[in-house]
C-alpha cells in the first residue's frame, strides 16, 4: 500500500489556515447541534435537575397536531411563494434581456433593493400596507367600492398576504440568478434552432428550458429550503395567527421556546426540523440530479 506523502509545509500551513474557521464552526455549529440532540432526550431544567427520558419529547412533538399543522403551513408557504417566484423571475429576466440601457441597469438594481432589507423591515412595511382601517391597500379597495379585507386577521387571506410580502422581498434575487442562467445559453443554439425552422414555443422548450435547468434546480432547492423556514415575516406581521394559519415550523418551535417552562420539547422539535430539511433537500437534490443526468 503506497503511503501518500504530504509535504509538511503544506500540512502546517493548512492547519494554520483552517484553524480559526474550524474552531468557530465546531464551537458554534457542531457542538450546539450535539447539545441539542442530547438535550432533546432530557426533561427538566438546571433547577429541578435533568432526567433522561429517551424519545418521550419526540413523541410529544409528533403527537401534537399543531406540529403537523405547522408543517402543512410550511408547505403552503412553499406552494404559494416558490412557483410564483420562479415563473415571475423567468418572465422578468426574459424582459430584462430585451431592454436597452440605461433602463436595463436601472431595473436590475431596483428589483434587488427589496432583497437587501431585513425581514423585520419588510414585515413592517407590508403590515402597514395591509392595515385594516387605514392601510393603503384597503383604502384603494374603498375607492373601487370593494369591502375592506382583514388581510392579516382572516385565516383565509393571512398566509397569502404574508406570501406576497415574501415574494416581493425575494423576487429580485431569483430574477437576477435566472437572468444569469438565461444569458449563459449560447446565442448560436437559438440561431441553429431558427435555421431548423423552430417557432417561439419550440425554441423555449428545446433550447431555453434545458439551458436553465441548472440554475432552475439551484433556485428550486434554495427557495424551497429558505421559504420553508420563513420566520421573521410572519413573526412580525401576524405572530403566527390568525388561528395559526401563518405559523410555519420555525414559528412553532419559537412559540414553544417562548412559552414552555422546560426546553426538552423545543429541542426535540428543532432536531426534527433539521432532520426533515436534510432529508427533503437531499431528495430534491437527487430528483434534480437524476433529471439532469437524463439529458
Amino acid at each position: 500500500m503506497t503511503k501518500i506523502k504530504y509535504k509538511s509545509d503544506q500540512v502546517k500551513t493548512a492547519i494554520i489556515a483552517l484553524l480559526p474557521s474550524f474552531v468557530l464552526l465546531t464551537t458554534f455549529a457542531i457542538i450546539p447541534i450535539f447539545l441539542s440532540l442530547s438535550s432533546s432526550t432530557l426533561e427538566g431544567n438546571n433547577y429541578m435537575g435533568f432526567k433522561f427520558v429517551g424519545f418521550s419529547n419526540y413523541l410529544k412533538v409528533l403527537t401534537d397536531s399543531n406540529f403537523w399543522k405547522s408543517f402543512l403551513v410550511g408547505f403552503q408557504y412553499v406552494l404559494v411563494i416558490v412557483p410564483i417566484q420562479l415563473v415571475l423571475a423567468f418572465f422578468l429576466a426574459s424582459l430584462i434581456i430585451k431592454l436597452k440601457q440605461p433602463l436595463q441597469s436601472i431595473i436590475k438594481v431596483c428589483i434587488y433593493v427589496p432583497c437587501i432589507l431585513s425581514g423585520i423591515v419588510v414585515g413592517a412595511i407590508f403590515m402597514y400596507l395591509y392595515e385594516y382601517d387605514a392601510g393603503l391597500i384597503n383604502t384603494l379597495l374603498k375607492i373601487f367600492n370593494v369591502d375592506k379585507v382583514a388581510w392579516l386577521a382572516d385565516p383565509k387571506t393571512a398566509l397569502v398576504a404574508v406570501g406576497i410580502a415574501s415574494i416581493w422581498a425575494g423576487l429580485g434575487y431569483v430574477t437576477l440568478v435566472m437572468l444569469g442562467g438565461l444569458l449563459d445559453i449560447p446565442k448560436d443554439y437559438y440561431e441553429a434552432a431558427s435555421l431548423d425552422g423552430a417557432n417561439i414555443w419550440q425554441k423555449f422548450w428545446h433550447v431555453t428550458l434545458p439551458g436553465i435547468k441548472n440554475v432552475g434546480a439551484y433556485l428550486l432547492i434554495s427557495c424551497f429550503v429558505s421559504t420553508f423556514q420563513i420566520f421573521e415575516l410572519p413573526f412580525i406581521m401576524t405572530g403566527g395567527g390568525p388561528l395559526d394559519s401563518t405559523m410555519g415550523p420555525i414559528g412553532y418551535i419559537y412559540q414553544h421556546f417562548s412559552y414552555d417552562t422546560t426546553l426538552g420539547f423545543t429541542y426535540a422539535s428543532s432536531v426534527l426540523i433539521a432532520l426533515f430539511l436534510a432529508v427533503a433537500s437531499s431528495l430534491v437534490f437527487k430528483l434534480v440530479n437524476s433529471s439532469r443526468s437524463q439529458e
Binding site: 489556515a17 450546539p32 431596483c110 427589496p114 440568478v177 442562467g181 429541542y267
Partner: protein, 282 residues
C-alpha cells in the same frame, strides 16, 4: 409586431416593475413623517398633513416618545454599534473564510475530504436547531451580553468558503510556483498573491456578510439583553408589541435602518450583480 412598439411596451412594463419594487419603500419613508395621530387615522391621507420630523429626530437624538422602546437604548447609538459590528464581522469573515478556502483549493493535507465534508454539513443545519444550545455555549465562554457574542457565531460562512475556493482554483498555479522558487512560504503566497487578486469575490461576499449582520434579529434578541448594545432590527421589533403597535416609530425606524443598505447597494451595484450571477452558476 413593430420593433419600436415592442420596445415601448417592454419599457413600460419595466417601469411598472420598478415602481412596484420601490413603492413600498417610498411609502415607508413618507410614513415616517406622519405623526402618531395621523398615521392610522381615517380619512386616509397619502402625504402627511405636516411633515413631522419628530419621529426621525426622536430616534436620532434618543428622545423617542415611545412606550415600548427599551429604556437605556438609543437608536442612533445602535445604528453605530450595528455598523461597527457588521464591519468587524466582514473583515473577520473575509479573512477567516478565505484562508480556509485557500487550504481547500491549494493545499494538500490528510483528511482533506473529510474536513470538506465537515464544513459542508454545517450548511445543512437550520439555525433554529442550534440557537438555544448556542446560548449555552456562549455562556460557557463567558460571552453572554457581550459584543463578541454578536459577532463570532456568524463569522464562518461556508458558502463564501465555497465561493472563494472556486475563485482560487481559477488562479494560475504558475504564479504560485514562481513565488515558491523565490522562497516564499505558502502563507506569504496567500497574502501576497491570492488576496490582492480577490477584490471582486471579497467585495461580493463581504456585502452579503454585512447584510446578514446588519439585518440580524433572532440571535441578538435572545443573546443581548443590555439595551445599550442592542442591534437595530432588534430595536425596531419593539415598536410592534402584542400590547400595541406604534406605527409611526415602526416606519421611521425601519426607514433609518434601510438607508445604509441602500447606499451600499448603489455604490457596489456592479459587483453585487456580478456576484449574484456567479452564485447561480454552481
Amino acid at each position: 409586431m413593430n420593433k419600436k412598439v415592442k420596445n415601448i411596451i417592454f419599457s413600460f412594463i419595466a417601469i411598472l416593475v420598478i415602481i412596484i419594487s420601490l413603492f413600498p419603500l417610498f411609502w415607508m419613508f413618507i410614513s415616517g413623517f406622519k405623526a402618531k395621530t395621523e398615521i392610522i387615522a381615517t380619512p386616509f391621507k397619502f402625504f402627511p398633513d405636516t411633515w413631522d420630523l419628530s419621529n426621525y429626530l426622536g430616534l436620532l437624538t434618543g428622545k423617542t416618545n415611545s412606550i415600548f422602546f427599551p429604556r437605556g437604548a438609543n437608536f442612533l447609538t445602535s445604528m453605530g454599534l450595528t455598523l461597527l459590528i457588521s464591519l468587524v464581522a466582514v473583515v473577520l469573515s473575509i479573512l477567516i473564510n478565505s484562508l480556509a478556502a485557500y487550504a481547500f483549493a491549494r493545499l494538500d493535507f490528510p483528511f482533506k475530504k473529510t474536513a470538506w465534508l465537515y464544513y459542508l454539513i454545517t450548511m445543512f443545519i437550520p439555525s433554529i436547531s442550534i440557537l438555544i444550545s448556542a446560548t449555552q455555549v456562549t455562556k460557557f465562554l463567558g460571552l453572554t451580553n457581550t459584543l463578541p457574542a454578536l459577532i463570532l457565531p456568524g463569522v464562518v460562512y461556508v458558502w463564501s468558503i465555497f465561493f472563494y475556493r472556486q475563485f482560487f482554483l481559477n488562479i494560475p498555479r504558475s504564479l504560485e510556483e514562481a513565488a515558491l522558487i523565490d522562497g516564499c512560504n505558502r502563507l506569504q503566497i496567500f497574502f501576497k498573491i491570492y488576496v490582492p487578486m480577490s477584490g471582486t469575490p471579497f467585495v461580493i461576499m463581504g456585502i452579503s456578510v454585512f447584510q446578514g449582520f446588519w439585518n440580524a434579529f433572532i440571535w441578538p434578541t435572545i443573546v443581548m439583553k443590555n439595551p445599550q448594545f442592542m442591534q437595530v432590527n432588534q430595536l425596531i421589533a419593539y415598536f410592534r408589541s402584542s400590547q400595541g403597535i406604534e406605527w409611526h416609530m415602526l416606519m421611521a425606524s425601519s426607514a433609518l435602518a434601510s438607508i445604509p443598505l441602500i447606499v451600499l447597494l448603489i455604490i457596489f451595484q456592479k459587483k453585487i450583480m456580478e456576484g449574484i450571477r456567479i452564485s447561480g452558476m454552481k
